[in-house]
């Protein structure tokens, strides 16, 4: 069990390509932290730097109190689960799990105890004599996790371990990993590009883009208070709707001009803006699909045309437009709404997000 500190970490490759830029992160002991972001955002590079598989160009990395920049991967007391499992194809499941322990010259009895115990935890006892090629994807992933468990490491690193599995198995394994974290009670760093995985697994999630950390917070806070437009758009399925609007400040009062409507803001917003001396400006309005409701025609409603309606079973997604902006509405299932129908919608103004048009930063933060 260990805390991990990344201080001003940079990773630069030849030709001045910066993969990770000034990354600062404190990971608490026993915490489950998820690095999430689109492809090429630097999340895997960060994980590999923690593992010691990638050299740190600049900055300091601590595991517990020990600076480990120059410590070999084997001496960092970490275990890693790779995206494509990285099982030794010529060894049986048992040998795959035991190999690391044999290399560390552990006694046969101890190795056997650990392997059997890990196999029991993961439910792979009956496959111990099989070779990896005789296993399904889910079973291989369990073996890969088992190989990490037997090491009893201070830190578990997982690099998109579920991305090669089908959707059903991914959901099952996600739960298994959560249970495993609770059972092992150790520090987990988990990399994924799937925001659903990030939201469901992480105690905290780190959202990255272009090598830069955009927000580190609990899943709930990231969802409810995204730090900027990128985070707001990345977290949440379907993604948040964005519109151009104008924030007006007149006589100590704040209101938003949007699509010909004047919207008064809640006290909370006004107080916040006053204290931060926010001025009139162009803004990006962010509204989550579930914060748009289908209503009867009224003064505050907008009439929109239904481009596509997707029936999801317990809910439906309606794709539409306000002016030229695409908009997605999440609604309870209604069989009377069809393509090309006109509907009236209203926005839950107490749930909207406002971002500076130029910087993309959330005005509330």
């Amino acid at each position: 069990m260990a805390s991990i500190t990344l201080k001003n970490i940079y990773k630069k490759y030849d030709h001045d390509v910066t993969a990770v830029e000034d990354l600062n992160l404190e990971i608490k002991d026993k915490e489950f932290i998820v690095l999430v972001g689109p492809s090429g955002c630097g999340k895997t590079t960060t994980l590999r730097m923690v593992a010691g598989l990638e050299e740190i160009t600049q900055g300091e990395l601590y595991i517990e109190e020990r600076k480990v920049n120059d410590v070999a991967p084997k001496d960092r007391d970490i275990a890693m689960v790779f995206q494509n499992y990285a099982l030794y194809p010529h060894m049986t499941v048992y040998d795959n799990m035991a190999f690391g322990l044999k290399i560390r010259k552990m006694s046969k009895e101890e190795i056997n105890d650990r392997v059997i115990n890990a196999a029991k935890i993961l439910g792979i006892e009956e496959y111990l004599k099989r070779k990896p090629r005789a296993l399904s994807g889910g079973q291989r992933q369990r073996v890969a996790i088992g190989r990490a468990i037997v090491r009893d490491p201070k830190v578990f690193l997982m690099d998109e371990p579920l991305s090669n599995l089908d959707a059903k198995l991914r959901n099952e394994m996600r739960t298994e990993i959560l249970k495993l974290h609770k059972r092992l009670n150790t520090t987990f760093i988990y990399v994924t590009h799937d925001q659903t995985e990030a939201m469901t697994l992480g105690d905290r999630i780190v959202i990255m883009k272009d090598g830069v950390v955009h927000q580190v917070d609990t899943p709930q806070n990231v969802y409810e208070n995204p730090s900027n437009v990128f985070v707001a758009g990345f977290i949440g399925t379907p993604q948040m709707n964005f519109f151009e609007a104008e924030l007006k400040c007149e006589d100590d009062n704040y209101f938003v001009l949007f699509n010909g409507h004047t919207i008064n803001l809640s006290k909370e917003y006004i107080e916040k803006f006053k204290s931060q001396n926010v001025k009139s400006q162009l803004i990006t309005l962010g509204v989550r699909p579930e914060c748009i409701t289908i209503t009867d025609k009224s003064q505050d409603s907008y009439e929109v045309n239904v481009d596509v309606s997707e029936l999801m079973g317990n809910e439906m997604l309606i794709h539409s437009r306000i002016n030229d902006n695409k908009i997605i509405i999440r609604s309870e299932t209604r069989y009377d709404i069809k393509t090309d129908h006109k509907i009236n919608i209203s926005l839950k103004w107490d749930k909207i997000h406002m971002f500076n048009k130029e910087t993309g930063i959330n005005l509330k933060m």
Binding site: A86, P89, I103, R147
Partner: protein
């Protein structure tokens, strides 16, 4: 009634047309297959099957030098060959021994050494590309040139090696390297190792490069040393390729004749059975004896390669 009959006839005609088109296409594809196979099959029939059968027939015949005709000789050629090998007549015994030493050299020295070199170079050591290129050079230069350069380097007078030894004050170590029975065979072997590593290295390097990076990284996290990685990960991972280069090396051992012929003219204890075959045909016209030697070595080669393959397959089964 009449209309329905007409439509039936029309349908039949349509079906017939469709069958005709189909059979025409089938004939075309058959013709294409025949054309494409004609040359390789003819080549195999003439240069493999016929020539091997002819060799087998020759091995039971002898040339009548007066009439210039071949006569049936039963097992005379084989008996003469075995006698010559046992009594070492005309260095046949040494040639027989050397053929099997070459088998050992190819299988137990060149393949393992190539594997080690390929592994070391896969670690991206400084100048690894240069070393790869240098090792492969013997495969793109004519063997005549290579052996000539090699002979010059080991020449007794003004040869690079003797010159170097003299300058280092080790004059007592100088010798006629390729003309001394004590050093000639070893020298030819060293040449073969030098010239033989490049090709195997190329094939094995390709196989090592295909080992998934994550597997090696996973092993690194397990705390594996380079030696352990080589033994426990690299060798099992590239075993099918090792099998291929080993079998190629083993079969090549029974065909070695150019290296000793060009370096020592087959003298000073460096001859091989393959070289003896060449000598018998070119010098004496003993086609029967040469064929018997060829057939004998083919049978022994088959047995040797089968034993090696059995060992290799056993491992492959364990690791696959």
């Amino acid at each position: 009634m009449i209309l329905s009959d007409i439509s039936k006839i029309e349908n039949k005609n349509k079906d017939k047309k469709a069958i005709d088109v189909k059979s025409h296409k089938l004939n075309k594809s058959k013709l294409f297959i025949i054309i494409m196979l004609a040359w390789p099959v003819a080549h195999w029939l003439v240069f493999t099957l016929f020539m091997n059968l002819q060799t087998l027939v020759y091995s039971f015949q002898r040339l009548n030098r007066f009439t210039g005709k071949m006569r049936f000789a039963g097992t005379e050629n084989y008996m003469e060959l075995f006698e010559k090998i046992i009594n070492n007549t005309a260095s046949y015994g040494i040639a027989f021994r050397n053929t099997f030493l070459w088998l050992g050299l190819n299988v137990l020295v060149i393949v393992p050494l190539s594997l080690v070199v390929a592994y070391v170079l896969s670690k991206k050591i400084p100048f690894h590309r240069f070393f790869n290129a240098v090792l492969f050079i013997p495969n793109i230069i004519s063997i005549v040139i290579l052996t000539m350069v090699w002979s010059f380097a080991w020449a007794p007078n003004q040869g690079l090696v003797n010159e170097l030894l003299t300058r280092l004050g080790l004059e007592h170590l100088t010798r006629v390297w390729l003309g001394d029975p004590k050093s000639a065979l070893i020298n030819v072997f060293v040449y073969c190792v030098w010239a033989g590593i490049g090709f195997n290295n190329l094939i094995l390097s390709g196989a090592i490069a295909k080992i998934p990076k994550e597997i090696l990284e996973s092993a690194e996290l397990d705390g594996i040393s380079n030696w352990q990685e080589f033994i426990h990960i690299v060798i099992p991972s590239v075993w099918p390729t090792i099998c291929t280069v080993t079998i190629l090396g083993a079969t090549a051992a029974f065909r070695v004749f150019l290296h000793p012929q060009l370096l020592t003219n087959g003298q000073y204890g460096t001859s091989t059975i393959a070289l003896k075959v060449v000598e018998e045909v070119l010098a004496g016209g003993s086609y029967g004896l040469a064929s018997a030697a060829g057939i004998t070595m083919a049978v022994l080669g088959y047995i040797a390669v089968s034993i090696i393959k059995k060992f290799l397959d056993k491992r492959e089964k364990e690791w696959s």
